[in-house]
């Protein structure tokens, strides 16, 4: 459970590859280093995708959870 404030939420629900990743990459540019962003997605493939993206870009994944059909990823901008 993160007590820290989420700086930005990316609503990628209903979008398919590659849009969740693309929208997240664009969104993360808008926040400060160290800030948290939250991504909501309904694409099952995005779980592995966001893990990989987090490793590629060096932005650590703080939380990866699922609530019903919605996947939630909390990522910190490095």
């Amino acid at each position: 459970m993160t007590a820290e404030q989420i700086a930005l939420t990316v609503d990628a629900k209903g979008l398919s590859c590659p849009m969740p990743i693309v929208k997240t990459a664009q969104a993360i540019k808008q926040v400060e280093s160290g800030a948290l962003i939250e991504v909501l997605s309904t694409d099952a493939g995005s779980v592995k995708d966001f893990d990989a993206w987090s490793r590629s870009t060096g932005n650590p994944m703080v939380e990866s959870s699922v609530d019903g059909t919605v996947y939630r990823f909390v990522i910190r901008k490095k």
């Binding site: 209903g14 398919s16 590659p18 849009m19 990743i21 693309v22 997240t24 990459a25 590629s56």
Partner: protein
Amino acid sequence: MTATLEPVLATAPAPQAAPEPEAPTRQLVIINWSSEFDKVMPTLILASAAAAGGMKTHVFLTFWGLLPFVKDEKRITGDNWMQKMLSFMQRPGISHTKMSKMNFFGMGGWMIGKLRKQYNVAGLPELLEACMAMGVDFMPCQMTMDLYGLKREDMIDGLGEPVGAATVLELMTQPNTADLFI
């Protein structure tokens, strides 16, 4: 002997570890040779995803693969009758691509369109926009432009300067670079 060395060694600076060389930036080079919908789509998906993942992404547009990057509104391009006929038979523009298999005079393309809408999968214009927004470098092939009689004004905005094989080969052989031929 040691007596004379010691004072010198005592004042010598501590040996430092050599600075770690920075890993070269990861790159992706796609040679986009094809013009069909089902081939341009993976090009644009991979390019936008790579760019989103922090990879410097270049897409070389050559042969048929240059035609989808002509402005949608240009129906006929070229100077001589052969070039004009080419554009007549292979309609240029990102919104006018066909399936490479089972196009069935457009039925196949139409069905893919319906499926895309149903599952909310991005189409080519949207993917191209995503690529441009992520800073993908589109490099038109100069030789293809000459062959087809294509001019700068025929092409969409946002493409880089026309280049040749040597430029692409140099990029492809850089370290940490993945290459694809689509």
